[in-house]
């Protein structure tokens, strides 16, 4: 694999290197770019936090606006006394369960809609109708049906993410190259074989796209469920802090949620790179 490919690549690189930075190889420039991005992110975060800290010291009251140093203090305290894990685990666990459930249910439904025109046409208006219902408004109903335990939050996350999965799967199948299907049909391949060889591999990038969007949404679902009725979780922690007008507590919960969201996104991106680079790179 490497011989021809790297030969082609090095020709391209030579041309580019001459134009931009003399002496720098392609790999080197990529490494520099990565570092530039990393440093840029740190600088950006630093200024954001510094502005907040200075603002709450000299411009506005930290009682209402929070203050980064106090938030950090609180989060460290939460780690020390075990509160962090106690609240983090259910929130993340419910979100991930909801996400998985969305994939298990959504992918087959997307395939069904894409492969049967009649089913698609019958279901479409109802599907779009359901999609336009604000799912957050269903949260009280879910709590009535499934109780204040984790299952109502899983269903909440599921109800937000499953539509994304169905739509992405459907679009992915419609984007599959017709020639590939015709090629197999001409060799009398069964529908199942075509599904296995063309359709499923063809929609893998689309499934990853739904996971990338879905992670954040699932977290939203989980937290919204907790805000409305629970005795545990980051959503409950935020709700409880707000009730006691503990703004630092609210901000601490939000910051933890944000960090969790960012981490989950990075994990998904890393897995995607690993799995897809080899087979799906353009």
């Amino acid at each position: 694999m490497t011989t021809v490919y790297s030969a082609v690549e090095s020709v391209v690189v030579l041309g580019e290197a001459k134009r931009r930075a003399p002496g720098a190889t392609h790999a080197e420039r990529q490494r520099r770019e990565r570092w530039r991005v990393r440093i840029g992110r740190i600088v950006f975060a630093f200024f954001l936090i510094a502005a907040w800290e200075l603002g709450s010291r000299y411009l506005f009251d930290p009682f209402w606006a929070g203050q980064p140093s106090l938030v950090v203090e609180r989060v460290i305290e939460m780690i020390r006394n075990g509160d962090l894990w106690w609240h983090l685990l259910p929130t993340v666990g419910q979100a991930l369960t909801g996400l998985m459930l969305s994939l298990v249910v959504g992918v087959p439904l997307g395939i069904l809609f894409a492969s049967n025109k009649t089913v698609e046409k019958v279901i479409e208006p109802f599907f779009l109708g359901l999609y336009s219902v604000p799912r957050v408004a269903l949260a009280p109903l879910f709590i009535l049906w499934f109780g204040i335990g984790p299952s109502s939050k899983v269903v909440m996350a599921f109800s937000l993410v499953v539509f994304i999965v169905i739509l992405n799967t459907y679009e992915g199948i419609r984007g599959v190259d017709r020639d590939l299907i015709d090629m197999l049909r001409a060799m009398r391949a069964s529908r199942l074989y075509i599904l296995r060889k063309v359709i499923l591999p063809g929609i893998v990038p689309w499934i990853f796209a739904s996971v990338r969007v879905g992670v954040g949404l699932a977290l939203v679902g989980s937290v919204v469920g907790e805000l409305l009725g629970s005795n545990r979780g980051l959503g409950w922690y935020i709700e409880n802090a707000a009730a006691r007008i503990d703004v630092i507590g609210v901000f601490s919960g939000l910051v933890v949620l944000m960090i969790v969201g960012m981490l989950l996104n990075e994990i998904v991106k890393a897995v995607e790179m690993r799995l897809l680079r080899e087979r799906y790179a353009p």
Partner: protein
């Protein structure tokens, strides 16, 4: 019009076929043609004359509005067995390696599992892809990708080859060498081929018979028996006077059609 050597059995028979997609003009207007076992038949004509549609009808990928299509005496209802369809676009699975793409043909043909690896090696060798077994299509040139597609079709071991401008997207040099390889493979196996192209010289250099089609609605204008000696060399044959006579005659057929419009 659809004469066939006496004694040869008919592989494909298309009778009075009309194809109507519902537009203002017919895609195909009353087409009849026969393909004998072991024959190399080309169909030439301008783009949009419906020559690809004929292949889709024979392979059962599409159904004719009127008329009958028979493959080896069986009316085409679904895709008939033993049809090898090669597309202008290579139709390779982009996420699969060269070997995996070729293996599709073996899997669809139900080739014995334990003998597949050895057969794949043979086919890689035959198509000159030995060193590229683990490459993915995106790392290959257009010519090499068509070799993989050819390898996949050979793996399926069809009795009848339907080739829809398979070398149409290749540069002149690669096209010539692929044509030669196809001739070599064909002369050892002697399977029936319908080869659709808009390259008249390519058609004449490869075929036993050339059918000339005109466009909108597609119909058969003329038919030429290519009486050039075999085995042929795709390059040498182009130096013969008879080759140029045939090419000129076909050109005249196609251009006179355009003027009369």
């Amino acid at each position: 019009m659809t004469t066939i050597d006496s004694g040869a059995t008919v592989a494909v028979s298309v009778q009075n076929v009309v194809m109507d997609y519902g537009g203002s003009t017919l895609a195909l207007a009353n087409i009849s043609l026969n393909l004998a076992e072991g024959e190399f038949l080309s169909i030439v004509g301008p783009s949009g004359c419906g020559k690809s549609t004929i292949l889709k009808l024979i392979s059962g990928l599409e159904r004719a509005s009127h008329g009958t299509v028979m493959v080896r005496g069986q009316r085409v209802e679904d895709t008939p067995p033993g049809i090898g369809f090669m597309f202008q676009r290579d139709a390779l699975l982009p996420w699969a390696t060269v070997s995996e793409n070729i293996a599709l043909g073996l899997e669809c043909a139900g080739y014995p599992v334990d003998r597949r690896p050895a057969r794949i090696q043979e086919l890689l060798h035959l198509t000159g892809l030995d060193r590229f077994a683990d490459f993915r299509p995106r790392a290959l040139s257009g010519g090499m990708r068509q070799r993989v597609a050819l390898g996949r079709i050979l793996a399926y071991a069809p009795e009848i080859y339907l080739m829809d401008e398979p070398f149409g997207a290749l540069d002149a040099q690669t096209k010539l060498s692929m044509g030669q390889e196809l001739l070599n493979i064909w002369s050892t196996s002697r399977k029936a081929i319908i080869f659709v192209t808009h390259d008249i010289e390519e058609a004449v250099s490869l075929s036993d018979r050339v059918i000339v089609m005109t466009g909108r609605p597609g119909r058969i204008k003329a038919e030429y028996r290519i009486d050039l000696e075999r085995p042929r060399d795709a390059r040498q044959v182009r130096k013969l006077a008879r080759f140029h006579e045939l090419v000129d005659a076909i050109w005249d057929d196609i251009t006179s059609e355009k003027v009369s419009h």
